[in-house]
């Protein structure tokens, strides 16, 4: 970004320069400052809401939370033990205060099952989930945009109808296969029938080889979804006036599409990728189950379905929420770099 002094974000009014004081063209420094202040404030508010939500997970359990958590077969003593451990015998404001002061230090309490800090258990799983999610997001954006743009350009102005139709049909079918179904199918084909890739995570296998199927099943549906969106958007952008201007400058095809179209396409694609990314994180939680992948999905499902391990549930939900907040912020910053107009407006 330029380091020139910024009078204001908005352009100085139209018309002639004032005599005496030369008019300086405005830079984006001011817009970035406002943007970052607003987004950091928003992040803090969202964090506070996240802490509140994770706190309420226990309090909102219908009936007596302590009885529900301890289980139907628990003795009265066990129920009381759970009650004191979770602080449920205290008044609500005290509970919230205890909870918040713990969370600030990263302390969500000890796991019932593993007898160690819940946060440690969650943090062990985080790298596994992040690995496959980030790899899938990158694949999805790069391949999805490239494919959508190529098809959009190839079918512009109703050229190659057969390509348009087959693209719609194929991507439509693939993108409507649930990721966990696709994952199961991959296991059957690549691990059971062809035996070229490991069926599930295990310390015995190379982690790189074991990650191929989870990443592929997470990204392929998304690639098709992104490609469909980008293909439609390409058709829209190709009809814009500024593309006609670029053709008026007789720019070569590659410059036309890569330099003048792609940045506008990225704005849309990245805005949508925020939505896709959160959806992907959700899919990852389930897809991990197919591959026994030792990520957050397994941790949270085990904690809910089997152990009723609420400290772990709270920590896991907090961390997953935090990941989506941070990823959304990163995407917005990239968006701002590509297209500074998005700095001023609200995200949509």
């Amino acid at each position: 970004m330029s380091t020139m002094t910024a009078d204001s974000f908005a352009a100085p009014g139209p018309g002639t320069p004032e005599p005496g004081r030369p008019v300086k063209a405005a830079t984006l420094a001011g817009a970035w400052r406002t943007f970052l202040v607003r987004r950091v404030a928003g992040l803090l508010v969202n964090l506070a809401l996240l802490v509140l939500v994770t706190f309420l997970i226990v309090q909102l359990i219908p009936g007596d939370p302590a009885t529900a958590i301890a289980g139907e077969s628990a003795t009265l003593d066990q129920v009381e033990l759970v009650r004191t451990q979770l602080g449920l015998d205290q008044p609500l404001p005290v509970q919230l205060w205890t909870y918040v002061s713990g969370v600030v230090q990263g302390d969500f309490g000890d796991s019932y099952r593993y007898r160690q800090p819940a946060m440690d258990i969650v943090m062990t799983a985080v790298p596994y989930t992040l690995t496959i999610t980030i790899a899938a997001v990158l694949l999805l954006l790069v391949l999805g945009i490239a494919l959508g743009m190529a098809i959009g350009v190839a079918t512009r102005g109703d050229r190659r109808r057969w390509l348009d139709l087959s693209f719609s049909v194929v991507t439509g079918i693939i993108s409507s296969i649930p990721t966990y179904v696709l994952a199961t199918g991959f296991v059957v084909v690549f691990a059971v029938l062809w035996r070229v890739l490991p069926p599930a995570y295990s310390p015995a296998y190379n982690i790189g080889a074991a990650a191929i199927l989870p990443i592929a099943s997470l990204s392929i549906g998304g690639i098709c979804s992104v490609a469909r969106i980008v293909r439609r958007e390409t058709a829209v952008i190709l009809e814009q006036d500024y593309m006609r201007s670029a053709r008026g400058w007789r720019l070569p095809t590659l410059t036309l599409y890569v330099k003048h179209m792609l940045p506008n396409l990225l704005t849309t694609a990245l805005t949508l990728s925020g939505i896709i990314l959160t959806a992907l994180l959700g899919s990852a939680l389930i897809t991990e189950a197919v591959f026994a992948w030792p990520g957050l999905g397994g941790v949270i499902v085990q904690a809910i379905a089997v152990d009723k391990d609420y400290p772990v549930i709270r920590a896991a939900v907090f961390v997953i929420g935090l990941i989506s907040l941070v990823m959304t912020l990163i995407i917005d910053i990239i968006l701002g770099l590509i297209d500074p107009r998005t700095l001023g407006g609200k995200r949509d």
Binding site: P22, I61, V192, I229, P263, I286, V301, S324
Partner: protein, 581 residues
């Protein structure tokens, strides 16, 4: 994943609400509805027919595919085909309930937020944004963690997770529609708020919301089955496609056929909903069909006579443009010439073919049009043959109607305006930027170097148009084509731009083809004027100075003159005299 559906819903929501649209059935929609009908029939009939077969313990456990059991049997010997078909009912009902629940609550909440007082509305919108930014699946898992496992719990969980999406779309649409003219009018006429919501706002939301519902159903189906798949949903003895898939997963190494049933069923139903959603979106926003543009040479006697050694820059003879698929004529046999340093105006109403004529000369004909000409030469170059991009770029400069849309919003001015110089005319990047800075200075843009680093949205309309003119002139073209360059600007800025064009024309001797619907503007700037109507030239005015209703012949020109009175006489606005100052 079903991201494309909400996106489609948003796209429809962005389409102008007042444009009359006819519902267009399309194959995708029909096929999708047909597939959904098949699913519905299976959901109703299968439990009655295959009920006992699906739940009763069979005699051949763990069978692979066979004639009796095409999809094999599970560990208790139950036929997987029967179980898959029977599970249709529970799966579809769960998804349906979740969709209905989330859409009703979400739409109600969205409307409530829209109707609420300002403070409450802001708070509500914030809450919706917060909820939307979380993975649906995470919200569903949180709710499942609170409520426990089971069919009802998982339906509630997925419904809760999807509420925010509906609430956001509803609030956005309500805000957009309530700002529209017909709602404002109704409000001014004293229509009460609840009637406004029911009669005006809701019906206009129907289309995008229907599209979102189709997407949400597909989403709910996948999410509920996903939750069942990881053991948070339906518990034994209840079963749905998700639990069947989960059962199959544990036996995948020995009997992979058992996952085929639930996998295909899930994909089939999800695809059906997706097709219905996309079909609805396509029906609401049909794409125009067009063919690619063509420009060909026509045979025939020339209508333009040129003299050798003349300083004619452009010779256009017999330009004809037809609509590609219908063959409807848009421009018929238009011929003219432009001499060096001359400004030729083409004036006419919208649809008269004046812009099309210009686009033929510029070799930028739009998609779906077919053009021909007997002769089209610019500075000795035959434009009907193969012309290199480099030649066109150096010979023709272009200025468009709306500077707000003609500049690329994502690129700074220096980057987009210098491309033609560096790529087509062989300038170095620094040389190109220096030339542009001088050109910006020539059009009186303040701080030229700073402007080159700005994005278009940081400049006013007049500044953008001046930048466009500077860029068009930077290639030192033989011909500058200005297509309604002042129409999108307000009156004072119009005058600036006109005098700038005149000054550029006089300083550089560049010929100008000036297109406008405004005879007042044209007579102020041009040396000669062509009047076009219905694709034909109806009047050629060679002497603009003495132009009056008596010197023209065609009734349409007389009408035009009558409609633009006294511009040149009383208002000095864009008179040539001032423009030269």
């Amino acid at each position: 994943m079903t991201e494309s559906n909400p996106a489609a819903a948003v796209r429809v929501a962005e389409a102008p609400a007042d444009r009359a649209r006819r519902f267009a059935w399309n194959p995708g929609l029909v096929i999708g509805l047909g597939m959904l009908a098949v699913v519905a029939v299976a959901a109703v009939i299968a439990p009655l027919v295959f009920g006992t077969q699906a739940t009763g313990v069979g005699t051949d456990p763990g069978q692979a595919s066979s004639a009796a059991h095409p999809l094999g049997t599970d560990t208790l010997g139950r036929d997987m085909l029967a179980r898959t078909l029977v599970a249709t009912q529970s799966t579809v009902l769960m998804a349906l309930f979740a969709t209905v629940l989330s859409s009703v609550v979400g739409i109600a909440f969205g409307i409530f937020v829209w109707l609420a007082p300002r403070r409450l509305r802001e708070l509500g919108l914030r809450l919706i944004e917060f909820a939307v930014s979380y993975p649906t699946m995470l919200v569903a898992i949180i709710v499942a963690a609170i409520l426990g496992q089971g069919v009802v719990q998982v339906v509630v969980a997925v419904a809760v997770a999807n509420i925010a999406g509906f609430a956001r779309l509803t609030a956005n649409l309500a805000a957009k529609i309530s700002a529209s003219e017909y709602v404002t009018t109704a409000r001014l006429m004293g229509v009460p708020v609840h009637r406004l919501a029911l009669r005006h706002v809701l019906p206009n939301m129907a289309e995008p919301i229907l599209i979102l519902i189709a997407g949400a159903f597909s989403g709910a189906l996948v999410e509920i089955s996903g939750l069942s798949f990881i053991g948070l949903g339906a518990q034994t003895p209840a079963f749905d496609w998700g639990t069947l898939l989960n059962d199959g997963l544990s036996r995948i190494a020995v009997n992979p056929i058992v996952i085929a049933g639930p996998a295909v069923a899930l994909t089939f139903t999800s695809l059906a909903a997706l097709m219905v959603g996309d079909g609805l979106a396509a029906a609401a926003n049909p794409r125009s069909n067009s063919t690619r543009a063509r420009l060909v040479r026509a045979e025939g006697e020339p209508a333009v006579v040129t003299i050798e050694g003349d300083d004619t820059v452009l010779i256009a003879d017999g330009i004809t443009v037809k609509h590609g698929s219908t063959g409807r004529p848009l421009v018929s046999d238009v011929s003219f010439t432009i001499r060096r340093g001359e400004v030729l105006g083409i004036v006419g109403e919208s649809g008269s073919g004046k812009s099309l004529t210009a686009s033929v000369v510029a070799r930028l004909l739009g998609e779906g049009l077919e053009a021909s000409a007997r002769r089209l030469e610019l500075g000795g170059t035959d434009l009907l043959g193969r012309v290199s991009g480099r030649t066109l770029a150096s010979k023709i400069g272009l200025v468009y109607q709306d500077p707000g849309t003609a500049l690329n919003p994502a690129l700074v001015l220096g980057t987009q305006l210098s491309d033609v110089l560096t790529i087509r005319l062989g300038f170095s990047r620094r040389g190109a930027l220096g030339l542009l800075a001088r050109a910006f200075e020539a059009v009186k843009l303040s701080d030229p170097e700073g402007r080159l680093r700005q994005h278009p949205h940081q400049l006013s309309g007049g500044m953008k148009q001046r930048a466009m003119i500077a860029s068009a002139m930077s290639t030192k073209p033989d011909l500058l084509i200005a297509d309604e360059p002042t129409t999108a600007l307000d009156v004072t800025v119009q005058r600036e731009v006109l005098s700038l064009l005149k000054r550029m024309n006089e300083q550089s001797g560049t010929a100008v083809l000036f297109i406008s619907h405004d005879l007042g503007v044209v007579r102020a700037l041009c040396d000669r004027v062509l009047v076009m109507k219905d694709g034909r030239i109806v009047e050629r005015i060679d002497d603009v100075a003495t132009l009056s209703e008596d010197t023209v012949e065609h009734p349409y020109t007389k009408q035009l003159l009558a409609a633009t009175p006294t511009v040149a006489v009383k208002v000095p606005a864009p008179t040539p005299g001032e423009a030269r100052s």
